[in-house]
């Protein structure tokens, strides 16, 4: 399970960035959750963001996706400044995410959960919807076909009419990934995708992350706690502690870094 098995050379931060974060700082009242955070994610990379609980990892995701406004610093996506944009705009620019504590639309069907996420690409509008116009039906069919395609990739096509809340945990996680993929994002942010999964499911998840990344030419940035996942899929790792970056590099290097061992690996990971 060592390395990521790819043939090409690992990318580094000197390559042109898909996502660039510069001096990002977020304060909640007196608490500094993220402090002077700078990094790049290069196209086609699979980068991991790790660190102990409360290090500010999810806050970084929330800042990138526009859910929090940054106190200072800037975020560039494909060279364009996205800090200050609303979450739905960030998504429409091509950054999709999943949540640590799965956030599905629980009363909607599995199919509808995915169709909602393709909304901006296939909305007929109020008038066409009310009139059930040919345009409406064409769009609905297109959206449905696209959603079904992603449900099959994630192995959920049989569950299309089930309510999201009735799915077992593992399927809910997969549905959230299908929902994040459907609009064809360029960058996928995964917040602890393996949380709560058993070793078998984790293995399948890693397989899945690798295959969708190849198939859709995705760049992936993920937060993870389980070392097995980080070592298994990540090409590069950024380590955070107390809101700051304490190390960057290949997983094997970072694992040897004394600061990291002290902050994280040595204390609460087996």
């Amino acid at each position: 399970m060592s390395g990521s098995g790819q043939t090409r050379e690992t990318l580094t931060e000197s390559d042109p960035a898909l996502l660039e974060v510069r001096g990002l700082t977020k304060k909640f009242g007196g608490l500094v959750a993220v402090n002077d955070f700078s990094m790049k994610v290069v196209k086609d990379e699979l980068v991991g963001l790790i660190g102990p609980n409360g290090a500010g990892k999810t806050t970084v995701f929330n800042l990138i996706t526009g859910m929090y406004g940054a106190t200072s610093g800037s975020i560039l996506f494909q060279g364009m400044r996205i800090s200050g944009k609303k979450p739905f705009q960030v998504y429409q620019l091509g950054i999709a995410r999943t949540f640590q504590n799965i956030r599905l639309f629980r009363q909607l069907s599995v199919l509808d959960n995915v169709r909602v996420a393709y909304h901006h690409r296939g909305e007929a509008g109020v008038v066409h919807s009310v009139l059930r116009s040919p345009k409406f039906r064409r769009e609905e069919k297109r959206v449905t076909d696209r959603a079904m395609e992603f449900l099959s990739i994630l192995g959920l096509e049989q569950r299309r009419d089930a309510l999201a809340r009735n799915l077992p945990y593992g399927e809910q996680r997969r549905l959230e990934i299908a929902r994040a993929l459907v609009a064809g994002p360029k960058l996928l942010l995964l917040d602890e995708p393996a949380a709560g999964m058993n070793p078998f499911e984790v293995g399948r998840l890693m397989e899945l992350i690798r295959s969708v990344k190849e198939q859709f030419k995705l760049t992936v940035f993920l937060i993870e706690h389980q070392m097995r996942v980080v070592m298994g899929v990540c090409e590069r790792v950024v380590v955070m502690e107390f809101g700051e970056i304490i190390a960057k590099g290949k997983p094997e290097q970072v694992q040897q870094d004394p600061k990291v061992i002290e902050a994280y690996l040595g204390t609460d990971e087996p």
Binding site: F105, Q107, D112, H119, A162
Partner: protein
């Protein structure tokens, strides 16, 4: 699936049911089995249903808790009544009046919704409650600006134009529009806002836009209902649009089941006829008890079936085909 052209429909089963029901009621009315008194109650039930469908869109589908629905009902009622009183009452001004009621309510909803829809759940409820009370005060003092509106004394001289046909046709249209709206990409976006606003934003839904859309369209329904109401009793009083009236509509929506068109229809009709039925069934000596029985029914209902009659489901004839599969 592949038929061409527009399908402004409810599905043929629902339409057949509606037409058969309408003819049946017309025959019963013609045979005098349904007397004018019950006709009026029937109209009131339909009007309540239209207004409640609107609130269901706002609260049941979009998840925005409004306690000020009656204010929009009032705006539609006064707006339409002013129009028909000015232009004279006939079928054309009535149509125009309904349109004006809807547009006025929608405009006010847009103006008030933009700032207050940022508030969440209970805070939004309080803000809309406050707005409702402000509107009531304005209706009470309306004669200072529009003498025709009569202020707290009430507005008289409105043409009696609303009849069962009007109510039925408008209500049918209201059901069709709402049904086609909620079973579409727009409807999915609205429901996603209700389910999880943050996740909706995270999958590209402009939640501000959809909250406003749901609120404005829902309030337009109230405006339409108000316009019909104004021409049913030919008299408007600000007391008909106070806080309790908002509660009444909310009650119909919750008893029917949030996010269910079928539920709202059943509850609106059932509730209106229960209230009036008690009026007829109870002997004169215990008439006062009617007002005691109905809150009791309300409490017992909530204790027994907190999710409402339909709890998020629909009559299958109201669903588009693809939604009819088993879940």
């Amino acid at each position: 699936m592949n038929r061409r052209g527009f399908r402004f429909d409810l599905g043929w089963r629902a339409l057949v049911l509606a037409v058969v029901g309408f003819i049946l009621i017309q025959v019963l009315m013609w045979l005098r089995v349904i007397n004018p008194y019950w006709q009026q109650i029937g109209c009131l039930a339909g009007i309540t249903a239209i207004s409640a469908l609107g609130l269901n869109l706002v609260y049941g589908y979009t998840g925005q808790f409004s306690l000020g629905h009656a204010a929009f009902y009032g705006i539609g009622a006064y707006g339409a009544a002013l129009l028909t009183r000015t232009l004279g009452g006939n079928i054309w001004t009535m149509m125009l009046g309904i349109l004006v009621g809807a547009v006025l309510a929608g405009l006010v909803a847009f103006a008030i919704g933009l700032p207050i829809l940022r508030l969440r759940s209970d805070y939004l409820a309080i803000a809309t409650l406050g707005f409702g009370i402000i509107m009531k005060v304005l209706f009470d003092n309306s004669d200072a600006v529009f003498p025709m509106m009569g202020g707290a004394a009430g507005m008289t001289g409105i043409a009696r134009l609303t009849n069962f046909t009007w109510v039925f046709v408008v209500a049918l249209g209201a059901v069709m529009v709402l049904r086609n709206l909620v079973f579409s990409s727009v409807g999915r976006a609205l429901i996603s806002v209700r389910e999880d606003e943050l996740a909706a934003e995270a999958v590209g839904i402009n939640t501000t836009k959809y909250k406003t859309l749901g609120f404005v369209v829902g309030c337009m329904y109230a405006g339409v209902a108000g316009a019909l109401y104004a021409h049913l009793y030919a008299y408007l009083n600000p007391a008909n649009f106070d806080f309790l009236k908002s509660i009444d509509v909310l009650l119909v929506v919750v008893i029917g089941g949030l996010g269910s068109i079928s539920g709202t229809l059943v509850a609106a009709i059932g509730w209106t006829f229960l209230l009036e039925g008690l009026r007829v069934a109870l002997p004169a000596s215990v008439q006062d008890w009617r007002m005691v029985i109905y809150p009791l029914v309300m409490v017992i209902f909530m204790l027994v079936r907190p999710g409402g009659i339909f709890a998020g489901t629909e009559f299958s004839f109201l669903k588009p085909r693809e939604y009819r599969r088993k879940r």
